[in-house]
Amino acid sequence: MGVIMFACLYVPDFPVQAAVLAEPEQSWESLRNSPMVVLDGPANLPRVAALNDPARKLGIEPGMTKLQVETCGGVLLRKRSIEEENSAHARLLECANDFSPKVEPESPGTVLLDLAGTGKLFGSIENTAKKIHARAEERGFRLRVAVASNPETALYAARGFSGITMIPRGQEARRLGPLAVDLLPITPEMLETLESWGIRSFQALAALPEIPLTERLGQAGLHLQRLARGQIHRTLAPAEAPPNFRESYEFDDPVETLESLAFVLNRLLQQLCAQLVAHALATNELRLRLDLEVRRQDEGEGEQYQHEWKLPVPTQDRRVLLTLLRLDLERSTFAAPIKKVSIEAVSVKPRMAQGHLFAPPSPEAERLEITLARIRGVVGNADEQGISCVGSPRIVDSYMPDAFTVEAFSSVSVCESAGANFSAEMPVIALRIFRPALETTVELTGEAPHFVRLWKKYRRVLAASGPWCSSGNWWNAAAWAREEWDVALKTATGMGFYRIYRDRLREQWFMEGVFD
């Protein structure tokens, strides 16, 4: 049976680090070396919620107002963003998940993991701790790692000591001894009491006799002492894998240009795709939400732009996703600048299919999707009836003539080989449709058309077959009724066969198409 050890990953000044990680990767190092504070609170009086070491050196403290911070000069100010912190915390969890299946998110920026049984994969506990530290640094975190025989000891060691801390079994009380008691989950009243007794460190608290301590501070006091001695053992409550992949970014100043937006989209997609890759997943559906600056008078919420993209094949390719987003946004106009952008990727299993060796060549799915998006940019998305302008035609099950719809075209989902009954003995005469149908004038002899006006000229009807009557939807407002005729007209270049019809509801003649 292997040694049971626990590790704790603690990110100091977590809100500041989350704000840094929300910036482009190239600027991380310079931001870390610059004094930075994260402000929180009401918009008219924000106060310092978190700060980094360079800011501390300037004398800035938590709780200072924005005005006080600005007097120090050269301090980077960031507004606190829960989305950024959630995103950073998710990245930290992913990092921990790389090393152990049992990971507990203790608090934002703090993660506990069970290292039992990982020795064969990562070597000794010391090596594992070093690897965890290196992996987290790769992901942009500057963190502390502590390893101990129980989760609580690892937690306080990580909070109290910088770098990597290893606490062997049996040495918990001695190693935790120098830490200040205010690291413990202690109430202000109890802290004041301990202060009045002269108890300021874990070591001093651990040395107190148990029974008198319990008499004075109750079970809570005894619990604190056991924490200080490193004697609390518990099992971890592992976190479940995140059900969805979501990234968001709130602009300090709302943006108006696509370039500025695309810059942020690129980074968000990069993070999303990295998460998908880390989970061995891909996405076939992307949801974008843009919060606009304008607020409606009648509603409390600002205007939003939402769009969904469904891809025929799952992908992890950031460039494909970014191109699709860009092409769509290029066609969109917004009434106001964008203040926040959120992207959610619906995760699915990646496509693990090998192309058939003898199958005919087909368009590459990802490339085709980009081409289709570009084509939509040229011809538009849909016509006035809402039928798509780009896609694969489908015949609607209806008696109504020219009833069709256009569905998304995919080179992947089509697997059936079309009509085995097809025989090309003789080609079929095609009908070219006029959309919308051309209004025309018809002179009748009896019931049959005798002259038809075509391209501003009256043409003699050489032959006519009809009428073919049909009607439908009589039970609702979309009712239609028509009387069709197929007519042969004499034209300058030969004979033209046309389909005309009389709209029986409007008593109007139309030319539907030409046989060609």
Binding site: P360, F409, V428, A430
Partner: protein, 233 residues
Amino acid sequence: MSSAVLLRSTIEARFPAAFAVRASRELICIPTGITAMDGLTGGIPLHCLTEICGSQVASSGKTSVLLALLAQVTQQGKFCALVDAQDSFDPGTAAAAGVSLPHLLWVRCGKTRQKLRPLEQAFKVADMLLQSSGFGVIAVDLSGMAEKLVRKIPLSTWFRFSRVVEQQPAALVFLEQEPHATSCAGLVLRVMSEPATLSGKLLTKFHLRVEVMRTRERKPVQSANFAAKAQWA
């Protein structure tokens, strides 16, 4: 060194392929399924620009020929694209002609308010589709467009299309009233109708004639007759 040689070497330094001799490709054709026409031309050539012409006012049968070609290709599981400048494609007759609709990408131009006119849209889309390989046939239907507009398309555009499709395992087919691509086209067909067969007053059959106006092999004008049946015949 003579000035001509100097000029040549300067150009070749910048554009290595400028004076390269291109080996002509072996002619591969896609059969249309119309026996008489395939016997005449072998079908529609791959890596080439083909023009199928016919009257717009009179029923010429050019669209029926295109549907026959699309049916042949899509039935083999290959994908085709139809760029419809006038939005005149009828899925019903296409399905009756044997076109596998899931294998067909239909681009309807001019249906929304866009910066470009339908003709410009059609050419731009055709260009995009050519760049995205994988389609067996890319058909551009310009037959509903006014002849005076199509005539204004510069020869350089046709030339560029013919050079691009040379590199693609696809056939680029234009459906027009009159041929415009001149020497850029590998095959030019003119389709016209003979008197139709009427069953009583019902149209049941077209008698069509196809003339080969231009091929790569510079043969004299040849023609063949064939028939097309109505959907209900």
